[in-house]
Amino acid sequence: MAQIQPPGFPIERGKIHEFANSLLDDDPLYHDLNAARAAGLPSVVAPPTFASAAAFFPDPNARGPSIKGLDMRFLLHGGQELIFERPLFAGDELHSEPGETKSWEKEGRRGGTMKFIENETIWRDRAGKIVLRVRNTLIQTAGIVKD
């Protein structure tokens, strides 16, 4: 897949509108520029989990853990932690850098040995200020986990 150039994660009004609709969220602060301005905001707000759409804008300088060697059939998303220094608005452009990566193994009850990979991505705005930290936990199981 081609990458956006120059690398970065532009927070765009149309993408926010589409993302909020995919969560069936009709809050005017996501969809209505005039409502956002009337509330004293620079533009529409990005929903809290919007940064997961950053998957569209992989930054070659700031990759998370490589997916190579992991079996996509048996890869689970264990959890995520988002820490905001401020809300994200349309018009922001973010750049990411890798934070800490940790991995550990645990004997699972249902799927054999499980490998946990936790990685942190740090997002900065145009001014270079940290606006968001994202910590993801991926779990590689030995086989398919039955519910």
Partner: protein, 140 residues
Amino acid sequence: MREKIWSQVKVGDEYSFELEDVKRTHFVRYAGAGGDFNPIHHDQTFAEKAGLPTVFGMGMFTAGVLARVPSEWFGPTSVRRYAIKFTSRLWPEDTILLQGRVTRLYDEDGVSHADLGLKATNQKQEDLIRAEATVRDWRP
């Protein structure tokens, strides 16, 4: 904005809503909007080869819907921290109950904060996600 919530909110207050009868189309729309094209979430053949009865929803779809609890309740600019743990899968035709409860109220640097306990459960009362959020009275 929802500033007036801060003068009314109490520990133990609750907020909830339901998302009924989730369809595969919800997963596909979220894939387009959020960029998660893992075929396990949209390709029946792929899901069956992996030993599953059908496709299941992205955890971040349910997490995004659950984030509507803090964002609708305290406003979209209020979220300071959102931490989620996925526990069970979301299947097509499930109904999700999204719930939040205030667990702590406090001031930090003169700004009102609230900690929330959150969960998304299905129609069988199984947890899909357990989560925590911290919201604050953020002003532009």
